[in-house]
């Protein structure tokens, strides 16, 4: 078993996920099964291979199809009331959240 329960807790804290005990055990089992399968990637020698992060870069070798940046000009944005309309809690001007300082 590569992944310990301690690893599960650490990753859950990075991901801001609260897990129940049953979920922790299940997660440990599933992640170990998946990672064991993923480990076959180590069979491949990739020491001289460039990583590929975006397809459009690849496509652009043949076709310069992507204009990476738009021109720097002022444009309209979402009206304030539309932007906060979906907020679970707001005071009409700002999003409201629980206390930030935890002590």
């Amino acid at each position: 078993m590569k992944i310990t329960l301690r690893d599960v807790d650490y990753v859950a804290s990075l991901a801001n996920l609260a897990l129940t005990d049953a979920e922790r055990a299940r997660m440990q089992r599933d992640l170990n099964a998946i990672l064991e399968y993923v480990d076959q990637l180590s069979e491949l020698d990739t020491s001289n291979v460039e990583p590929m992060a975006q397809v459009s870069l690849l496509a652009s070798v043949a076709n310069p199809v992507v204009a990476p940046l738009r021109s720097d000009e002022l444009r309209g944005s979402l009206p304030h009331d539309a932007a906060i309309r979906n907020a679970p809690q707001s005071d009409g001007t700002f999003f409201r959240v629980p206390k930030v300082i935890e002590r």
Partner: protein, 489 residues
């Protein structure tokens, strides 16, 4: 409304023609689709493709189309065509859930570009379609709103994640639908439900307004009854959009004209890795029959190899989950969506909101992706997978030097039973084994029906093409449909 109009048989062009030629009105057509949806989709035990009906918006658009006809003017190309949209595309003023409880009450302030382009071309949006939560799944069983059932056999899954899109088209409760495809989510359900599903080249269709899953892999595309319908719809949703910097600034061809051309002389590659010895016998015989038909239409068949294909599933599930873990960090209960009422501090609110809002598969993928990106594992998993992605893309580059298209089965088996793989994530991931390679390479792919299993379940053939050569693969799909129709009649 004319009673002799069979909604199940309507295509994009025949739906438009029925309104244009006053066989019916757009308004009456919309009403009869809603009646069909109420009686065939929404009752318990039925297909469950629709999550939200967009009645007001549909009737308003129908009225616009009817007044065009009343004035004696020609309808736009999608004028009066009733369509539906996977609920991962946002719609202004209409709740957009991505199949998640977390977005139950989310009412977006803007429209997805693909949706507004459809409407600008006259299409009528009937509603929003069920899908796996945040498009993560291969069976539609991960929806917070219950699974979709396969209209061809209600005990089976429709595939996923665009299960509602494929099922609505197969059931005739929409003439055509939009879906999204990250690792096979358009093509696999299309194959399971016996419809056409097209994933365009990465960048061909703007992703603006598509709720993000894996941003380097996400695509929007059509699910339709025919390659011709897919060609018509693709032309309207494709093209540069200033709101998506990865959308390609290339002219959009007339795909409908392209599919009319002959397939004679096209070289089609059959990769041996997609036909393993242990493969499903019905899938093998249907796909091989399809290849024979293409050969009889004048295609040259070449046997090729895509040697790194076997690494595609592990590569995909590292990269897609890593991207997902970053994309889904935005669901924190602050600006929109669900917020846990059970938290006293901000940190607790984040953790509980996400724990209570996300389903098990989404949590699993966030965890896997976070792990793959975490300190100490980034090189071994994320960077490694990005390098293998290069190798998989290179396989295709090499293959397309000697062939014009590649044909494979879309799925290893026909539609499986509801619940059959629900408890085994790895078995579920393997349902995407033939579709993830094209997603990683960013090339276009279409699934087209090529036969049925002995028990009558649809089987799909996947046709892959070079970047931005959607016309070629749609042409082959169209040719296959026509030679098959010729054989079976």
């Amino acid at each position: 409304m004319s009673d002799d109009l069979d909604l199940n048989l309507l295509t994009v062009s025949s739906a438009r023609a029925s309104v244009q030629e006053r066989q019916t009105t757009a308004t009456a057509l919309v009403e009869s689709f809603y009646t069909k949806i109420q009686t065939e989709d929404r009752q318990s035990g039925q297909v469950n493709a629709y999550l939200t009906l967009t009645r007001d918006r549909a009737l308003e658009q129908a009225k616009r189309m009817d007044s065009i006809v009343d004035c004696g003017n020609p309808l736009p190309e999608l004028g009066g065509v009733p369509m539906a949209i996977k609920d991962v595309m946002v719609t202004r003023g209409i709740r957009s859930t991505a199949g998640s409880k977390l977005l139950d009450n989310y009412v977006p302030p803007y429209d997805c570009t693909a949706v507004s382009r459809l409407e600008a071309a006259g299409a009528i949006i009937l509603g929003k379609l069920n899908c796996d939560e945040f498009a993560m799944g291969s069976s539609n069983e991960n929806s917070a709103w219950g699974p979709v059932r396969n209209p061809r056999d209600l005990t089976r899954v429709p595939g996923g994640s665009s299960g509602g899109s494929a099922a609505s088209v197969a059931a005739g409760t929409a003439v055509a639908a939009l879906g999204s495809d990250t690792g096979g989510s358009i093509r696999q359900p299309a194959a399971f439900c016996g419809v056409v599903g097209m994933m365009p080249t990465y960048g061909r269709v703007s992703r603006y307004g598509l709720i993000a899953f894996g941003s380097s892999l996400d695509h929007i595309g059509p699910l339709t009854k025919s390659a011709k319908d897919a060609a018509i719809i693709l032309r309207h949703i494709a093209g540069r959009d200033p709101m998506d910097s990865t959308s390609a600034d290339l002219p959009v061809p007339d795909y409908e004209a392209e599919i009319g051309k002959s397939v004679r002389g096209l070289r089609i590659g059959v990769p041996r890795e997609y036909f393993p010895d242990e493969m499903d016998a019905d899938v093998r015989s249907s796909v091989e029959a399809g290849i024979k038909l293409l050969a009889s239409s004048g295609c040259e068949v070449k046997y090729i190899s895509l040697p790194n294909s076997r690494y595609a599933i592990p590569t995909y599930y590292v990269l897609a989950t890593a991207e997902a873990s970053a994309n889904l960090a935005r669901y924190d209960g602050v600006r929109y969506g669900y917020r846990s009422p059970n938290a006293k501090t901000l940190g607790e609110m984040y953790r509980r909101t996400r724990a209570e809002g996300f389903g098990p598969e989404v949590k699993r993928r966030i965890m896997l992706g976070t792990y793959a990106l975490s300190a100490g594992y980034y090189d071994a998993y994320y960077l490694k997978a990005q390098k293998v992605r290069t190798l998989i893309a290179r396989d295709f580059t090499e293959a397309f030097k000697v062939v014009d298209a590649i044909v494979t089965p879309t799925t290893p088996t026909p539609a499986f039973k509801l619940g059959e793989k629900a408890d085994d994530p790895l078995a579920m991931y393997l349902a995407d084994i033939f579709t993830v390679t094209a997603s990683l390479a960013g090339i276009p792919g279409v699934s087209v029906p090529c036969g049925r299993s002995k028990t009558g379940l649809p089987i799909g053939m996947q046709i892959l093409g070079r970047h931005f050569e959607e016309g070629t693969i749609l042409r082959l799909a169209h040719a296959l449909e026509h030679t098959r129709a010729g054989v079976s009649t």
